[in-house]
């Protein structure tokens, strides 16, 4: 099904199943421990051996020698694979640094060997006996230094890119009566998902099956085949349950490659879970940014000039953190400049983490908006409302398909009690706490992705959906079941959803908050085909049929759905594809975050008191699952505002705090109160589901809302995340 025109009325609009807050259908399995994750596939490989990954001890350089003798002779050891044993491996299309290092080392904790043994403990013990000598080479680990003279990003074939300009920024900025020119920094972030990378590899002849934990099955399958130099038809990737990914599992990672190599070497299934202390440096991360924002406005607050420039670093051949994206679209203003610089760093590979680009970009932009509102003497909500735009400011002929940012801000302000906020900072005290409120807009683009599914109506009347879509803890199983139930007119419990298997049709996968809308649209497309097949079997001529309550009704004829399959099951497969609606219209999601914090007047520690998000993001397929996505994202936003930072050792080139004790993410005590409101919306330009995404929207802007609340509490502006106490301790108001 190609989606080329805005959606008209369709069976989803009935919203008898879709749009309802169904519990997660995988919930009982997850909470009772009966949903097996990749490392727990005991039935599929009862004889699996255990792999232990050894990470490089240096950031850049070369392995001089490896002594594997003691390890090979250790109890239980079945084999050891290093780059030397593995032979020639290619690099996956989605990987910047190679997944098995040696003799050249590209980054700290890059995998250099897998030790395979009968037991986990034996593999671990033997790994401790591997001796590796390195020649350390000089690397660049300091972003500020590396950005000096770094080229503009985005150019092709190694040539520098260019700035994006609309109007004449410099002259308009110079002429503006009120202006801001400020620099902001965000640190490197780790996905820190609960389930580490994990894979179980099973070879049967030249056929490889890998049970893994991955967000994008088709990407992973293709890159695993490419890495190992085999046809992708010979590789099957299965990932029905994923214990969190946040973008860290978008791509093939070392666990799958090393498990496959290990299994081949020892002639047995091998499973590998990446050790937690390796996760931060072996994996990808959200790169640190240095951002400069300039805004010029008239005295009454109309933005005349806006510029956002961002610098980040990555491994050679990598990409920039696209932190300026949202600034192209979020606010009006005739004169605009955006640009990104990309430096070469020898830190681990930077790549996508939840809302790549917008997450750190909004952390900066939405502080800048707060600072600008203060300079103008305007309320920060009113300033944002004044600069709303219903068209793409760079291409005014493109309208937003839906844009309810103003309603989000105004409704949020009203519900949060924003009018109680003191415009003057450092005015509110509650015991030893300085109390402040902050606001930020939420913005994240919606992306169209092709997505396929296969739907079968079985003789027992059950509907089976198969797609390689993944459920990374988001609720994919449930919204897909809701979609099929709505389309076929059957109850939720008559639908079986099978996900995450490369034998199933290729879907959008989970990432970029594109999963829910696109994957369900693909199921919708397959269901439309299945309805046609049902109609044909049942001898309906009209296309105007109602599928409801297990019956198919057209005109004055009504037949049980099961009658269509008395002679055998019916299967239909299709995918959603897209025309150019996303060129004619800008598809984005919007929201407003409101935050109240307390800052300890003595210690400078900031604690969240409450937060509210109001969102407008198309049709909400399942308000309960969507709310869970939002509060999870908001929690992550609080983490990035207050504590999350991969600390860089600039001498040795690695992230020092590489475990969950050192890399702090919020715990329950940090998040006392969250509220989420979704505005009614159905976006007919997006897809037949009229849905967009929320999983990343919930994060975008939160950090700045926290930062603005801290400023409102203390009167001290912090522009460098995270907002830890030492950044304002010496400037806090005197203790009374």
């Amino acid at each position: 099904m190609k989606f080329t025109e805005p959606a008209s009325t369709n069976p989803i609009d009935r919203m008898t199943v879709v749009g309802r807050p169904h519990d997660r259908i995988d919930g009982p399995r997850k909470t009772t421990g009966t949903a097996p994750y990749a490392y727990e596939r005991h039935a599929e490989a009862p004889n699996a051996a255990y792999g232990w990954i050894i990470g490089a001890a240096i950031a850049k350089g070369r392995i001089r020698s490896m002594n594997l003798d003691d390890a090979r002779g250790a109890p239980g050891v079945l084999g050891i694979v290093t780059a030397a044993e593995a032979g020639k491996l290619a690099k996956g299309n989605f990987n910047t640094a190679k997944l098995l290092g040696g003799p050249e080392i590209d980054h700290y904790h890059q995998a250099v060997a897998i030790v395979v043994a009968e037991s986990f403990e034996q593999a671990r013990a033997a790994a401790g006996l591997v001796r590796i000598d390195y020649d350390r080479a000089k690397g660049q680990y300091d972003l500020d230094e590396a950005l000096k003279g770094a080229p503009l990003a985005g150019g092709e074939e190694g040539k520098p890119g260019k700035e994006d300009r609309t109007g004449s920024f410099e002259s308009a900025f110079d002429a503006a009566p009120v202006k801001l020119d400020a620099e902001y920094t965000t640190p490197d972030h780790s996905h820190a998902m609960m389930e580490p990378f994990a894979s179980l590899a099973i070879w049967e002849g030249d056929q490889l099956t890998v049970w893994t934990s991955n967000q994008m099955i088709a990407w992973g399958r293709g890159d695993l085949a490419k890495t190992l130099g085999m046809p992708k038809e010979k590789v099957r990737l299965i990932s029905p349950y994923v214990g969190g990914g946040f973008g860290g599992k978008l791509f093939l990672r070392a666990d799958a490659v090393m498990a496959a190599l290990g299994a081949k070497a020892v002639g047995r299934p091998v499973k590998v879970a990446m050790q937690r202390p390796l996760m931060a440096n072996n994996a990808t991360h959200r790169p640190a940014t240095t951002q400069r924002i300039r805004i010029g406005a008239t005295k009454d607050g109309a933005i005349q000039a806006i510029a956002h420039e961002s610098g980040s670093g990555d491994q050679p051949g990598g990409g920039p953190e696209t932190a300026v994206n949202q600034t192209k679209l979020l606010y009006a203003g005739p004169n605009r400049l955006t640009a990104m610089r990309l430096a070469v760093l020898n830190l681990p590979e930077g790549n996508a983490m939840r809302a790549p680009g917008e997450a750190p970009g909004m952390m900066a932009l939405e502080i800048a908006m707060d600072e600008m509102a203060e300079k103008l003497g305007m309320d920060p909500v009113a300033f944002r409302v004044k600069n709303d735009t219903q068209v793409d400011p760079e291409k005014p002929e493109r309208r937003f398909s839906q844009r309810q940012l103003v309603r989000c801000l105004e409704e949020g302000a009203q519900r949060f009690g924003w009018s109680q906020r003191s415009a003057k900072p450092a005015q509110v005290r509650d015991g030893r706490w300085l109390v402040g409120m902050g606001v930020a807009a939420a913005f994240r683009n919606h992306m169209n992705m092709k997505s396929g599914a296969r739907v079968t109506l079985n003789k027992d009347g059950r509907v089976v959906v198969e797609t390689d879509m993944t459920d990374i803890g988001t609720g994919s199983y449930t919204i897909i079941a809701q979609t099929a139930a709505e389309m076929m007119g059957v109850p939720m419990d008559a639908v079986d959803v099978r996900l995450g298997d490369s034998d199933y049709p290729v879907s959008a996968g989970s990432g970029g908050q594109f999963g829910a809308a696109n994957a369900t649209a693909g199921v919708y497309a397959a269901c439309v085909k299945l309805r046609e097949a049902v109609a044909q079997r049942l001898g309906f001529n009209s296309a105007d049929l109602n599928f409801a309550d297990g019956r198919v009704t057209g005109g004055n004829r009504s037949v049980a759905l099961r009658d269509a399959v008395t002679s055998g099951p019916l299967t239909a497969e299709d995918r959603i594809e897209f025309g150019t609606l996303d060129k004619s219209y800008q598809l984005s999601t919007f929201g407003a975050h409101f935050v109240e914090v307390g800052v300890d007047a003595y210690t400078g520690v900031t604690r969240l008191r409450r937060m509210l998000a109001v969102c407008a993001a198309g049709r909400i397929l399942n308000p309960k699952a969507a709310r869970s996505q939002m509060i999870g994202a908001m929690t992550m936003g609080v983490g990035s505002a207050l504590m999350e930072e991969l600390a860089v050792d600039k001498r040795f080139g690695f992230f020092v705090n590489h475990d969950l004790a050192g890399y702090e993410v919020p715990v329950h005590a940090d998040i006392p109160h969250q509220e989420v409101i979704f505005l009614e919306e159905a976006d007919d330009k997006a897809n037949p589901m009229k849905a967009k995404g929320v999983g990343e929207l919930g994060l975008c802007g939160v950090g700045a809302a926290v930062a603005n609340a801290v400023y409102n509490a203390t009167g001290v502006r912090i522009r460098d995340y995270p907002l830890t106490l030492e950044k304002h301790l010496d400037r806090l108001p005197a203790i009374a």
Partner: protein, 316 residues
């Protein structure tokens, strides 16, 4: 993790005797040791499990204090009615640390011996004089936001991470031990933890094989008991700094500071300045501090945290 042998000791003296074997270590709650063994920061060849010794009672002492068995869990110690009533700072310090699950397993003696959380100690690719004497210190010149500011040496800037130890220090606890010959001794807490000097791998006054059997607290000193722990997140994090304070009605009192040194930091001479306020006390506490750029914030932070404690005591 390296292979090791394991035994369960029947009594304290035989446990101590077994521990004289090179490479032997006592195993109590295991919440720290086992984690470190998994990453080969600790590589004992023999473990002596002391759980059967049943040193898990809290009893009154003759002089009106408390004797806490070495293997009383942190949970039980913090919840004990006498501790909560008479030694509130200890109860508060304990519940400010770790998580409920860890406190259920962790023991009093184990907590006293808890090793540093310096990230360079944990990463076996990095130099660490504590882990591998003579290898150097990766933390000096590296990422040191959480590390020590006072009592440091050119060989080590690690901190003692325990909350409990800070309260024990302010309470003048005494560590009771037995050695392989069956001789007992009592070590004042002030002498129990050492500064790193040029032997940062030697962290306490314990001799080889010496087993902690109990910790005694002197008779209660009254006053308002406060434990202020400062950290980036609200729970389950080590202190950036912490202040254990006992403040008397007349403004006098005692304080010990955590998160700033290789041992709980207490300078009795500084306490004389308590009535003059936090600034005066802090100046004396840290007269010889040598913070790094990453952790120089700890000096003003202690001052302000102490001010919070004094203010809290005033209104208590």
């Amino acid at each position: 993790m390296r292979p090791f042998t394991y035994e369960r000791a029947k009594d304290a003296v035989s446990a101590a005797r077994a521990a004289t074997k090179p490479g032997a270590k006592f195993l109590a709650g295991g919440t720290n040791l086992l984690d470190l063994m998994k990453i080969e920061v600790e590589t004992p060849t023999h473990l002596i499990d002391v759980q059967d010794l049943k040193l898990d009672r809290i009893e009154k002492t003759k002089d009106g204090g408390l004797r806490i068995g070495a293997f009383v869990t942190n949970t039980a110690l913090a919840a004990d009615e006498r501790v909560r009533r008479d030694y509130g700072v200890l109860s508060r310090a304990i519940v400010a640390g770790a998580s409920g699950q860890l406190r259920n397993k962790a023991t009093t003696a184990g907590n006293l011996l808890q090793r540093t959380r310096c990230p360079y100690f944990y990463d076996t690719n990095m130099a660490c004089n504590k882990r591998k004497p003579g290898s150097g210190c990766g933390a000096i010149g590296g990422y040191s936001r959480q590390l020590a500011i006072v009592g440091t040496s050119s060989d080590c800037i690690a901190t003692n991470p325990s909350d409990m130890n800070v309260a024990m220090r302010v309470l003048d606890a005494v560590v009771e031990t037995v050695n392989p010959e069956g001789r007992t001794r009592a070590i004042p807490i002030a002498d129990f933890h050492r500064l790193p000097g040029n032997t940062p791998h030697i962290e306490t006054a314990l001799q080889p094989g010496e087993l902690i059997t109990a910790v005694t607290l002197p008779r209660p000193v009254g006053g308002t008991h406060i434990y202020e722990k400062v950290r980036d997140r609200a729970s389950y994090a080590f202190a950036l700094v912490s202040v254990a304070a006992i403040v008397q009605k007349d403004g006098s009192g005692r304080i010990a500071v955590g998160g700033v040194a290789h041992k709980p930091w207490r300078v009795e001479a500084a306490e004389a300045a308590m009535p003059q306020g936090a600034k005066a006390v802090t100046a004396r506490l840290f007269a010889d501090a040598r913070p790094t750029k990453d952790n120089e914030y700890k000096v003003p932070l202690v001052e302000r945290t102490l001010a919070a404690a004094i203010s809290q005591a005033r209104t208590a």
